[in-house]
Symmetry: C3
Subunit: 323 residues, 3 copies
């Protein structure tokens, strides 16, 4: 189950970045290059189930200062599907507690001969700091409430595959927007590609300031439903909040849960996304999550495809610089 890689040529000449730090910086052409490469890898590997060894001998280090099984596993599998090696360097067992700086930890990992560092950190800008001080490639896997570019890309890829295009689509991001790096990366990418974006949720989770990013702000899901082509249901991050931003989960679900009743208010072909892990009965009802409008599991597969594409592109750009 290994693919002949001779048909995969070098990376596109238009891709010149050694790092992927966020979608805010990317041009429309660069966004499309990643999405195209992701589709190519997804197709060539039978839905990301087979190997395509274009990065044999390269090593990717997961440098996660925040817990994440899902994203870390997706990056690890993506690297291995490309024939590469992975190594995990998690904060709980790392040297942070011994007083080492984040940059020193990253420099140490780089000195072990890795070509890519995938970094998650609660402090916004950490991947940017690393990218300025390391020679290897850096991929942002989530920096505080700032960006989570591969999550944004996988959401966008799923919309593109299901809709044919992003331009002209009305996409609502519903729920826990305030501290969401996923929302921010989605907004940057979707706006560049021509979508109309609505952020929707209780006023405690969706500030009017979001309008400054060029998006529509709503606190009433029922009101916007008839206009939406895509609903992206962000989970309420109970584990991060010290005070509840709403009186009860029941009240939140009453106003914002995507259920069958609400589905009937939408355009007939609305697309329902959720980054997961989903809380059934909170942001999404079971019959919607498992229903024909949901593309939740395709998002997961697309996550793998996007990460394969990004790893291939940044490694290719690095190798070209060294030539």
């Amino acid at each position: 189950m290994s693919i002949d890689v001779s048909e995969i040529g070098p990376i596109p000449a238009a891709w010149t970045r050694r790092h992927l730090l966020g979608l805010e910086d990317l041009s429309v052409e660069e966004l499309n290059l990643i999405l195209d490469a992701a589709e190519m890898f997804k197709e060539a590997t039978g839905g990301c189930t087979q190997k395509i060894p274009v990065l044999t001998g390269r090593t990717c280090a997961n440098l996660f200062f925040e817990n994440s099984t899902r994203t870390r596993t997706s990056f690890s599998l993506a690297m291995r599907r490309l024939g590469g090696d992975t190594v995990d360097f998690t904060a709980s067992s790392s040297s942070t507690s011994k007083g080492e700086t984040t940059l020193d930890t990253a420099r140490n990992i780089e000195a072990m001969g890795v070509q890519v560092v995938v970094c998650r950190h609660r402090t916004p800008g950490t991947p940017h700091l690393l990218s300025k001080n390391l020679n290897c490639s850096v991929i942002n896997a989530g920096d505080g409430a700032h960006e989570h570019p591969t999550q944004g890309l996988l959401d966008i890829l799923t919309i593109r595959q299901k809709r044919g295009s992003i331009a002209g689509q009305t996409v609502a991001l519903v729920g826990d927007i305030q501290f969401s790096r996923t929302a921010r990366s989605n907004i940057w990418g979707l706006k560049k590609l021509g979508a109309h974006v609505i952020v929707c949720g209780p006023a405690t989770l969706v500030s009017p300031l979001w309008r400054e990013l060029g998006v529509e702000v709503s606190h009433n899901l029922d009101e916007i439903l008839p206009r939406c082509d895509v609903l992206n249901l962000l989970r309420i991050q109970f584990e991060r909040q010290s005070t509840r931003p709403f009186p009860s989960v029941r009240e939140y679900a009453h106003l914002y849960s995507m259920n069958r009743e609400r589905l009937e208010k939408t355009k007939g072909n609305v697309l329902v996304l959720a980054p997961g892990p989903i809380n059934r009965g909170v942001e999404i009802a079971t019959d919607v999550a498992d229903g024909p409008h949901s593309a939740i599991l395709e998002q997961v597969t697309n996550g793998l495809a996007v990460r394969m594409a990004v790893l291939w592109l940044v490694c290719g750009a690095s190798a070209r610089e060294l030539e």
Copy 2:
């Protein structure tokens, strides 16, 4: 140290299962198919020390909701000896705490393109639930007090190798039977293959209800010793018990510990097994554990062989279905 796989043909036509959920469901023919395949792999790989890349490009996910280094490591090594990849998805770092259902977690992992999910869960029937809802293969690595089929198989393989056959053997399972999935899998497999099985331990750990599975129940080890061909010494799972099922460890050891004195009451060629980790001085004395009757470390090697066989068979059945 890599084996030529051209001699390993397709899986036997008689094997049709995509999943291994327990030994209760298996026919005698199926049990023997696994044991034969395990012996074949053990021999072909020099005692499981070399690679035999028949599953190159396939990925196995360890989805463990209970801790287990030993079983997880054995499955990982088995998959890699077969040329495949593995990924660990442990509960402590997983999304369970974020309110995701077990099935959603498994569906997410499947959507990352894995071909096999090896599942351990405290709730009996969890692997069965997954097998009904996933397209990939599911292997039960222990579900509550229900079954632990690969442990049963490795015990049975060890008996077969040491005794030539299972039929006609008198096998005693001694110790912590009550909540033991290992005991249950052993009983199903051994009975089907024609052994006489005795479960033996204090009344608090061995209920008379076990007779319903067709086994003999004893509370007196010394009494049954002269009749036994095989003694399988299950460890007392102190870490699982809130109340001690006996007055003291010393009293337990006095009545049930397999020591040199008790060895003299057995048939001269009795075989001593223990699933490990062993508590020296509790269920087994040091001179017995390290003595000529013990096959404890061969069980570990056979565990690898059995898991290689099972991974090969379920992947093969899956691939055949897709043809």
Copy 3:
């Protein structure tokens, strides 16, 4: 990025050890064999960034009873650069808590078909115990305050590369000497290869008894600076100490921190090493750590090279014994 291994022949005939337990036991010839092999691997793999599959099909188990991301990762990457597999067996998730002895844990891992066990344990002599009872190779990755041979070797390799030779060099080990296995391994190796070694630090951390190992003892860094060719700055292991061995970190830094002022008192070409993780502002100032005298990150790369060399040598000696 995979190297042709046909040019790498068998291991040198003079290397006969299946284990690497410490530098105390090694002859000068053996030390040089490891250092030469490390340089060969470093060069052949472009600074340890590429694969050189000389151990394909072999498996190395990391058996760490103390936390260590750095050393464990370095061994894992070294093994995979050599084409081998690795498996982690950490104490926190292992069976130690279930009453299993360390030797039984190691025997179990060996029975899973691994060829090398890399062991870290707080008890001095644990790797030696394992080496006497296992058939596979054992590498000491740190045993209590006794030895940490690969750390000593990577320090020595760095000195050799920067200085051309060890003989005649004056090397000061500064800081937390008292319970340092790194210091001990450095001393054994450096003395054998002809260096003059000074141990330097507060009297609470540097006992006069160290003189018995043939080294000079100093409590005054400023006094020895003009004589030193190499300064190896050991970190203060705050996390290990219940009582502080000095009044304050500030006072320690005042007396022993390597900063620009102190650098001016040294020979112009002094080499500054630190095993890491470093505490900037404590044992080393930022401008020294990042300055031209520092070889801290080359030590990390050399660590990979040394571990590749050691894995190759002990596996080769094992294979030769089996012939």
